[in-house]
Structure formats: C-alpha cells, structure tokens
C-alpha cells in the first residue's frame, strides 16, 4: 500500500515560481554546498589548484512506513529529477560551469528509519543520474557510495572522470560532513564534482602499466 506523504499531496501540477519552492514542497529541508580549493598538497603547489565541490540536499524520505514490497518508482520519478537539478545547479555555480567540471560522483545516506534501498532509488536511477550527467556534460557512469547513518556523520564520496572513467589521475574523493542530517525520516542526497585530476598525480595509467600478475609474489611469499 502506498502511503501518500504530505509532500506528495503538495506537488503542484503547474510550474512553480521557484525551484526552491518546489523543492520545499517535495520535502527538501536544507541544501549544503561546499567548495574546497586545494592550493598545496604534500608541501608544494600543483600546476593548477584543484577545486572539489559537493552539493547535498536533505530531503524527507518519501517511503516512510512502507515495507520492502513497496514499488519505489512513482516517488523516485517525482523527487529525483528535482534533486538532480538543485544539486547540479549548485555544483556548476561553485565550479564555474560545466566546462570547469572534469569529474563527478554521488552518494545517498539514509536516516535510521529508512532502507538503504530508498537512497538507491534517489541516486541509482535515470531520474537522477541521467540528469546530473546531462547538466555536468558527462558520459561516464557516475561512481557512488551509499549507506545509512545518524545525523552528524561524514561520508567520503568518490569521483572519477566524467567522460573517461578509467583515467587513473582523476580518481579522487571528497569528504562531506552531514551536520544535523539525516534525521531518522530523511535522506541526504549528494552530488560531487571537481575541476581536475589529483594534485601531483603520478601513479601512471592502464596505458602505461606493465603486465602485473601474481607471479610478482614468487620468491617473496613463503
């Protein structure tokens, strides 16, 4: 049985005058945007400062009081695209536009009264991922982390290149703090992006790697 949330009944049929008002109607309580500019690493400045940004929406879990047979499609279709728009807008503003975005990633942290599957519904379907990919002008699968936590924890969100996911120099992560969120009946949905590769990236790539097998352990291991 679908339990219609208060947020669901408030969904307007006509366009709202502001995206933020629509977000509020969908149960978004807060939006946090963070931009880190890393000017030095390991004691020296990289050729270009790395900028990493995260955008997080704290949204009411639309599936409270449902069980594991609940079809998640309708609320996902209603909520996830708006979250994708809100978060992408903030990442693009923080980093200066899609041409400044080289990597991306995403995360969902579900409050204690929800299923991890609820977070997955909001980030692992085309309703979120396709839109973030489109707004940030990428083509890769978006790497992710997810889980369930109480308010005040941290999540380390991975990212990789938005069009060349195997580019090793771009493998990186950003730690996001979740002050006062998620409450037990909420979900934190996060998108991250950065302006470039790791500072001082120097561990080669699959195109430069030698062929390595377990033979390398012969003569070393007992």
């Amino acid at each position: 049985m679908t339990i219609e949330s208060k947020a669901a009944t408030a969904t307007p049929t006509a366009p709202t005058e502001s995206l933020e008002r629509l977000a509020t109607a969908l149960g978004v309580r807060a939006l946090h945007t963070v931009c880190d500019e890393i000017l030095t690493e390991g004691g020296s400045a990289p050729s270009h400062p790395l900028r990493q940004a995260s955008a997080m929406a704290v949204v009411r879990n639309p599936w409270l009081d449902t069980d594991t047979t609940e079809d998640l499609e309708s609320h996902t279709r209603r909520v996830a695209p708006v979250l994708a728009k809100l978060l992408s807008d903030r990442l693009l503003k923080a980093l200066g536009g899609a041409d400044q975005v080289q990597t991306f990633g995403k995360a969902a942290i579900v409050g204690l009264h929800g299923e991890v599957e609820h977070g997955g519904a909001l980030i692992h379907t085309p309703y979120f991922g396709n839109l973030v990919r489109e707004f940030l002008q990428g083509s890769s699968i978006i790497c992710f982390t997810d889980g369930r936590a109480t308010a005040g924890s941290q999540v380390r969100v991975p990212m990789w290149h938005k069009t060349h996911a195997a580019s090793r120099a771009h493998y990186q992560a950003m730690e996001v703090h979740l002050p006062d969120a998620p409450h037990a009946d909420e979900i934190c949905v996060i998108a991250v992006a950065s302006s470039g590769p790791r500072p001082h990236a120097r561990i080669g790539d699959r195109t430069t790697d030698e062929v390595i097998t377990s033979d390398i352990l012969k003569g070393i291991t007992p």
Binding site: E20, R21, A23, T24, V28, R29, A30, L31, H32, T33, V34, C35, D36, E37, I38, L39, T40, E41, R90, A94, G152, Q154, E175, H177, P179, D180
Partner: protein, 182 residues
C-alpha cells in the same frame, strides 16, 4: 602567508520545524587553512610580527569570499580560529582578535559590531560551531545563531584554520521577544 586550502560552505535552509522558510535562510562560511606563523619557534613572547605578516592578508582573503558566496545583504556574522595541536590557542586569537583582520569583514559588510568568535585547539577534522550576531547591534536577539563546521584534514598540528561566517538573516522562524521586553 602559506595557504594550503580554502573551503567555502553555503547552507540554505528551506524549512525548519516542518514549516517553509521563505526566502530560504542563507549562511556562508569561508575557512582558510594556513601554516601557523609561529610554528617551531617555541614560546614567542611578542606575537606582533606574525600578526602583522598574516592577519590583514587573511581578512582580505576571506571577507570578499563570504560576501560573494552569501549573494545577499549580510545581517549577522562571526569568526573562528582552530589551532593545530602543536600551537597555542593564543596564536589563533592573535590572528582574529585584531582590527587588522576584522575590519576587512566589517568594511565589506558595512558592519559595526564586534565579531563573536570561537577559538580552540583541536586535531584535524574537529567539529566546531561559529557563533553569529547581528552586524550593527549585538543585542538583537533574533540574529543570535550558530553554524556547524567541519573541515576534513585540517588543521594539521602546525596549521591554523581561520574562518569567517556570514548570514543573510536571523534564525529561521525566530520568534523570541526582544531583549528589552524581558
């Protein structure tokens, strides 16, 4: 001044207590992680040389970033100094409790009051709260508020994290009687 990292946080609160906040409440924090100017020098009796070398540049770095990220007239503000484990809390206080630092923010925001502050020594990744008060009258109760901050990986033992915070409004749904009515 050697800056390792600058972190900008923008908090937008769309609802509080189950009721919409319109327009969304905005609070911004900008933090710079710098080398402690007195690192490795033992107990330095007179801190003025380090203050002169760093405090004004820090204020000039942080204040315009807060105003730009806030993107609205500022109504409340505050500051923070988090000293890494090898420093003294006095080192952080030295950098923020001087007009050379704070006047950059006051001038940018047309503010007049003292900036409320938090000073502490902590390991990297500590959670701290920055107090904010009204920018022209620190007795205005509606604008007393705090914002929680955590910068992963800072401050290192030989570093200091210095932050400014600004808010475009008081607390969401503030509804306490003013000070004079108690």
């Amino acid at each position: 001044m050697n800056v390792r990292k600058i972190t900008t946080l923008v908090e937008e609160t769309l609802s509080e207590g189950g009721r919409a906040v319109e327009p969304a409440a905005r609070v911004v924090i900008v933090a710079a992680v710098i080398d402690n100017p007195w690192a490795g020098q033992g107990f330095v009796e007179n801190l003025s040389a380090g203050i002169d070398a760093v405090a004004s540049d820090l204020g000039a770095l942080l204040a315009p970033r807060v105003m730009e990220a806030l993107d609205a007239p500022l109504e409340a503000y505050g500051k923070a100094a988090i000293v890494g484990l090898e420093g003294e809390i006095e080192h952080g206080s030295a950098l923020i409790h001087t007009l050379k630092f704070g006047d950059h923010f006051r001038n940018a925001a047309n503010a007049t009051t003292l900036l409320p502050a938090v000073e502490k020594r902590a390991a990297a990744g500590t959670v701290f709260d920055i107090p904010l008060k009204h920018f022209t009258d620190a007795t205005i109760r509606s604008h007393h508020q705090s914002v929680e901050v955590r910068v992963a990986d800072a401050p290192h033992p030989g570093e200091i994290l210095i932050a400014l915070a600004g808010a475009a409004q008081g607390r969401p749904h503030q509804r306490l009687a003013p000070l004079g009515s108690d």
